[in-house]
Symmetry: C2
Subunit: 304 residues, 2 copies
């Protein structure tokens, strides 16, 4: 599920979620066991603004807390809408929203060079105020200054066993929102976890989680029915069924935009490569067909 | 777990949670299957301030969203600390945080007469600005104006089956934070749930949930080791083992403060009355002993 406007009202967010829920319920109706992840960009952006504007009155919370906050608001509004959609189809399954932590490496190189822009653009004076608090902001020219944060690689989903337990018990699980709450481990084997200020790519986390859950299909819902190659040229064409090797070659040629289709292709490759697994990138209205057949979207497998 | 200062920093909150985690891990070590609920008053207060101060830039979110947000931040920081405490005791259990909805009646009389104060005190001009948006604020004299919201009775915990599934799978479950995210049902049997602006008493929700989970003991952790009667008089004394009938009589005499010990006593009575169940009200450092014996705290049972 992708967000849209950074200043989207709660009502608009709920409408988008209601629409998505109909399509997700169709996937459940098709007989699939469903674990859902989602993004949170616009929602985190809004929370950062609130943090900043109220900083003189209430202590700002760290970015990992903001990620957690968006997991809960999206999970419960999605659960409300999806439970209704499931009931409307006469299905017995119901939705459970899990607060989800994702492990990252405290020594991930991205922490040394934060590059992921988050939140709104502000004037230099305001950026300087937050830089004095230790945040990193970049001059983005005409639009103003914008905060950048680390986007470390996800290593594993800490709460994967709980996700597994809920899925096994028959729940549609909403989890790992916004890529998961980033935590590092100061101990061994998750014995000293603590949240860190970062954001994790949601698609990469989805790929890791899907492998961990031993899923057979990873569906990445986006705004377009297929991944395109040679986009914007006369040779522009949609990709249908492709091998991981073919898709990797397109990616190596720089066919996919960083921060947009790039991470989705990367996630699809990580999931589908080297096994009997299948990743599908397609638009929301096609996700049920993507689960049941190979006729829609860009379908990535190790071999054809 | 009870919060303290409305402007508590994330660091201070984390410290309090770390301390609580040691005691909770002892309960797990004693062999109990543990499901945890918690309050969220100070945290919701902070979020309301942020909503208000950023209202001109990003759309405020409704109160049910704020409750959800506090569930996730508390659940994941508690999970981090509790997982460490469990590991330190050599216990295999780990923590799972569930986003939890609680059903209330759309026709609950409290919606017509909101009386639960939330958030900070503001000047009249500022209160008027929010009243124009449909909120209800009350003149509280010298300290200023304060928002009041409905605090309807919890009917059932919507996500109780998921809590059950996680507990059965061996997880320590953190859930129903802040009494749960208040939802009403526009359909039947949870088929058209939607969030509503309200807060639910956390102790009453805990009592309902504990009965639903068929728990044998409900422990309500507070700041004092025992419930007191005739408090502040020469006859002041702590209650040890009491029957529900005795405790109800004390309550009927107005022994317990509304909004403080009152709801805890009420929750203990609702849980313990009419069955082989036991409710204990005591301080955090005694919760492990409260689970294993009848020697600490105020212990409420149907009969002695």
């Amino acid at each position: 599920m992708t967000g849209s406007d950074g200043s989207a009202t709660p009502g608009a967010q709920q409408q988008a979620i209601a629409q998505a829920s109909g399509h997700i319920a169709e996937v459940v109706a098709a007989g699939a066991q469903v674990v859902l992840t989602h993004g949170n960009g616009p929602q985190v952006g809004n929370l950062l603004v609130k943090n900043e504007m109220a900083a003189d009155v209430v202590p700002p919370v760290p970015l990992d807390w903001n990620v957690a906050q968006t997991q809960a608001t999206i999970a419960f509004t999605l659960a409300d809408e999806l439970d209704a959609a499931l009931a409307a189809l006469g299905l017995p399954q119901r939705t459970a929203g899990l607060v989800t932590r994702t492990l990252v490496d405290a020594h991930d190189p991205h922490f040394a060079e934060p590059s992921k822009p988050v939140g709104r653009f502000v004037a230099r004076e305001e950026a300087e105020r937050f830089m004095a608090l230790g945040q990193i902001w970049e001059d983005r020219g005409e639009r103003g200054w914008r905060r950048v944060v680390a986007s470390p690689e996800p290593i594993s989903v800490v709460d994967s066993p709980a996700i597994h337990a809920l899925a096994d018990a028959g729940f549609v699980v909403v989890c790992a929102g916004g890529g998961g709450i980033p935590v590092v481990d100061d101990g061994v084997d998750g014995t000293a976890l603590r949240g860190v200020e970062a954001v994790i790519d949601k698609d990469l986390t989805a790929a890791i989680l899907a492998r961990d859950l031993d899923a057979d299909t990873l569906v990445i819902a986006t705004d377009v029915p297929n991944v395109m190659v040679d986009f914007g040229t006369p040779e522009q064409r949609p990709l249908g069924r492709v091998t991981a090797a073919e898709l990797r070659e397109h990616a190596a040629q720089g066919q996919f935009a960083r921060g947009s289709m790039g991470p989705k292709v990367d996630a699809a490759l990580r999931f589908a490569d080297g096994g009997g697994r299948r990743a599908v990138i397609t638009s929301l209205e096609h996700i049920a067909d993507a689960v049941t057949g190979d006729e829609v979207g860009t379908v990535v497998t190790a071999a054809l």
